[in-house]
């Protein structure tokens, strides 16, 4: 495999795995991953 091939593969894999891990961490960190949905107040105010 050429160096460019390696770079692209590592960037793609790294980027996707990082995004997936970040998302799962955020979902679990929200504390309601295994609880029934219940968001009484939206944490982000609606934008204009």
């Amino acid at each position: 495999m050429t160096p460019a091939g390696w770079i692209l593969m590592i960037l793609a894999w790294g980027g996707i795995l990082f995004l997936t891990a970040w998302c799962i961490a955020r979902v679990l960190g929200a504390g309601d991953a295994e609880e029934p949905f219940d968001n009484p107040e939206p944490p982000v105010p609606p934008t204009a």
Binding site: M1, T2, A4, G5, W6, L8, M9, A12, W13, G15, I16, L17, L19, T20, W22, C23, I24, R26, V27, L28, A30, D32, A33, E34, E35, P36, F37, D38, N39, P40, E41, P42, P43, V44, P45, P46, T47, A48
Partner: protein, 540 residues
Amino acid sequence: MAFQDPSTTSIVGAAGGRETWGTRIGLILAMAGNAVGLGNFLRFPVQAAENGGGAFMIPYFISLLLLGIPLMWVEWSLGRYGGVRGHGSTPGILDAIWKSPVAKYLGALGIFMPFIVMVYYTYVESWSLGFSLLSLVGAFNQAEGIEGMSSFLRAYQGAEIHATGMFGNVDFGWFIFPTMAYGFFLITMALNLYFLYRGVRGGIEKVALYALPALFLFAVILMVRVLTLGTPDPTQPENSVMNGLAFIWNPNLTALGDPGVWLAAAGQIFFTLSLGMGSIHCYASYLRNKDDVALSGLSTAATNETAEVVLGGTIAIPAAVAFFGVAATMQLAAGGAFNLGFVTLPVIFQQIPAGSLFGALWFFLLFIAGITSSLAMGQVVIAFLEDEFGMPRKRAVLILGALVFVCVQPVVLFIEHGYMDELDFWAGTFGLFVFGAIEIILFSWVFGIDRGWREINLGADIRPPRIFKFILAWVTPVLMIGIFIAWTLQSAIDTALMQGVEESTRPFVLGARLFMLAVLGGLLYLIRRAWRSRRAARPA
């Protein structure tokens, strides 16, 4: 107030007495299960290898950012918006965002496509189950080489009679009845209907909670096995896993100048995320008003990409190159992604230790990927019958089962005559772009980007970057319209005119078209009836 529904063991308590998801992780896994399908493991590596290798990933990721993630948020938001108003299918959802008599009829596409695709997809899914068991009992040993395995697959499908008569096919002269394939189809259909009957929380979510982790586990085991294949034949050092990875990832930067490569990348993002289908809307309709869609939608897309780029790209093609070399793999891939999975890989599994076990794992992985997607398609039809006709779930599931059973017969019997390919092109490919273009135009330009952006941010656990508001307003709609026009010019006109279709196949192709028109006509009639009944029932 929530109460237990004894027929479905689901909690009912959302607006309009509709079911809701049990847990957030269950919803995300179910959504990911909807998106992760056969295409992640079969279509993606072939597309990458055919369209510039590593260079393909550049338009692929740009499409993910400009098309995939924005449309994912749009479909989640639209689904939740319709769901809290009592609609889980797109006629009701589009009617809720656009007060025009036309809106609900445009939404018919969001039921038409999942239904048609479910008809043939469930059959293909059943092949995976059948092949998984056939691999486990060592039946592939009956087939020798690529030719032998092609013949094995054709006999299983009923395109020919196997020399040993092992599939019990019956020749009726103008068609061959594929006894074993039919049996596995019935089992697969029964499983789908059972899980659908159990409901959103008791069936679909439970399946996802077990199936998705199993799918990832199987895929990682297969990936490790493929990566440790090395150079299977030392006399042919160029046939190696490393060259297989190079085949997918070495960039051919000149391909970036080819508009076809950009179109292929955008198409792959669209297919892989199950956009423009109506199933994401349906699953999201079981959310409550202020449940997050921004983080959940992004998580779904990210999970799907892990299955596709990291796992899907590391199994089929590298294994094929390790055993057959780059030139032969290119030829095999040109024969279709499907051949790669059902012909090439079984031949490889015959040649490695414990191959029948790895073969069974591979096909069971495809089966899991398939069933988690077909459940999503079936749920759309059930939601339509439940929400718009007030039908009990049990009856809705029975009707769906009867319809799929009747409609799948020509798919099974005329598989050699292009019937399934025709359904796949119009409902499984072209229709997605049509509906994708319609929904983004309605969301951004009719519903309005300000209201749309507020919907995406309502209850959000992450703040989507503001640049996406501009992307949603202009970039995604313009891109979708462009892709729709390009696809029409590139494929739809030739296909519509039956260019290159053999004379003997034309009646079957026409039959498939008439069938689709009948389904669409029936849907439009049902929508008209449902809305009339509702209007009549409304107090004066």
